[in-house]
């Protein structure tokens, strides 16, 4: 018997326009929380640097922090837009149902796991800021040692778990995207998984080459 109170029915009643607006708000929330995470981690790193280095490179580090946050935002926008275009083209080539606008809306709603992860990461950084302390940062002598030390810091302690949580959120986002493409484009789940893993692989490959 049809029950209008079921979550599934409520989700399926979201129209085209609604999905685009909800999706955009989820995506923008993700961008904001992600920038906050990057910014707070950077501030914490600057606070742990020896005083001499922190004061000498104060402006450079501030500019680095801003440019890194801006880079993260633009990187996420490019990843999403190219992903949408890639999936739309792949669906056309595989003779799926063309539903580009709904795909845009629902794929951005699919960023919900990442948005939740980023919000949790911000809360973690606010509530457990002591967990960010890393001995190596306080003992570096030149600024050239900083990138390697940041790498070591991200793999250690609680921050290692934060990184693991990020991979989990990426996995969930891809799973949601796979289901979205399957339902909207009338393609089999296997084909959708193929499309998404091709894009994810391409993304990782290009990112590795560029950075």
């Amino acid at each position: 018997m049809h029950n209008p109170g079921w979550m599934v029915d409520r989700i399926s009643s979201i129209g085209m326009k609604g999905s685009i607006w909800i999706g955009l708000s989820v995506f923008v929330t993700y961008l904001i929380t992600n920038v906050l995470t990057v910014h707070m981690m950077f501030r914490s790193i600057i606070e742990q640097l020896p005083d001499q280095l922190a004061s000498a490179y104060d402006q450079v580090l501030t500019i680095m922090s801003i440019s890194m946050s801006v880079g993260v935002v633009f990187g996420d926008i490019v990843t999403f837009i190219l992903g949408w275009a890639f999936i739309a083209i792949a669906v056309m080539l595989l003779n799926g149902r063309r539903n580009h606008r709904a795909l845009f809306g629902w794929l951005s709603i699919g960023y919900l796991p990442l948005a939740l992860y980023s919000a949790c990461a911000v809360m973690f950084l606010v509530l457990f800021s002591d967990a960010m302390a890393h001995k190596g940062l306080t003992s570096i002598t030149t600024i050239e040692e900083l990138p390697a030390e940041i790498g070591r810091m991200q793999d250690s302690g609680w921050l290692g778990w934060v990184r693991l949580g990020r991979y989990l959120a990426y996995g969930l986002t891809l799973a949601v995207a796979c289901e979205v493409v399957h339902r909207l484009s009338a393609l089999s789940r296997l084909k959708c998984a193929g499309i998404l893993s091709a894009y994810a692989g391409l993304h990782v490959f290009i990112t590795t080459i560029l950075f």
């Binding site: 280095l53 402006q59 633009f74 837009i81 580009h100 606008r101 845009f104 600024i143 050239e144």
Partner: protein
């Protein structure tokens, strides 16, 4: 031409100019320590920092046009991020210009000389960059039209508009590089 279409044509360029101006105002009003305090020793080597000061004539022009074309490429690829990256780059260019002007004025250089060193090629160069960034905004226009009107189609007017922006942008950047190489120095010499 419908009003909405008219706005879509004009807003990217105006937004680009606003980004440059906003960056310039922030740079001009924000003090920055330009000295290499605490920087590694090799940073004091002027040859590493500014190899261009030793160039002259055709070599200098090649270096300037190379840098400008790199900036143009970055501004055009900003289209992938719906033009946001182009606008942020323009704001950064305005910010650096503001810092340089402020730093020159604080070092005791007269404002006439600063204007003579920046305005002749700077106006042409920034106008060219604004044109390129406006082309970069086309990414946003395409996605906006698709989501709002469910329309992928490119009108001949839009293609022609972007072609004009691209050509004019390249011509302005080319003219700016020639002015910077051969004319700016001559004008600045008058204010010695």
């Amino acid at each position: 031409m419908p009003m909405n279409e008219y706005r879509l044509n004009k807003i990217p360029f105006l937004l680009a100019v606003c980004c440059i101006l906003a960056g310039y105002v922030i740079g001009k009003s924000t003090p920055i320590d330009t000295g290499p305090a605490g920087a590694p020793e090799h940073a004091a080597d002027a040859n590493t920092l500014l190899p261009r000061v030793f160039l002259d004539g055709h070599d200098e022009w090649k270096s300037i046009i190379g840098t400008n074309l790199n900036v143009c490429t970055v501004l055009l690829t900003g289209g992938l991020s719906l033009g946001f990256m182009s606008m942020a780059n323009l704001a950064w260019i305005g910010l650096s210009t503001g810092w340089v002007v402020r730093s020159a004025l604080e070092s005791g250089m007269s404002w006439e000389r600063v204007a003579a060193l920046t305005l002749p090629h700077g106006l042409l160069e920034l106008a060219g960059f604004a044109m390129m960034a406006a082309v970069g905004c086309e990414g946003f226009v395409i996605v906006y039209r698709k989501l709002r009107y469910d329309d992928w189609s490119f009108s001949l007017d839009r293609i022609s508009l972007n072609f004009r922006r691209l050509t004019m942008g390249l011509l302005l950047v080319l003219a700016a590089s020639l002015v910077e190489t051969y004319i700016t120095g001559q004008i600045a010499a008058i204010f010695n």
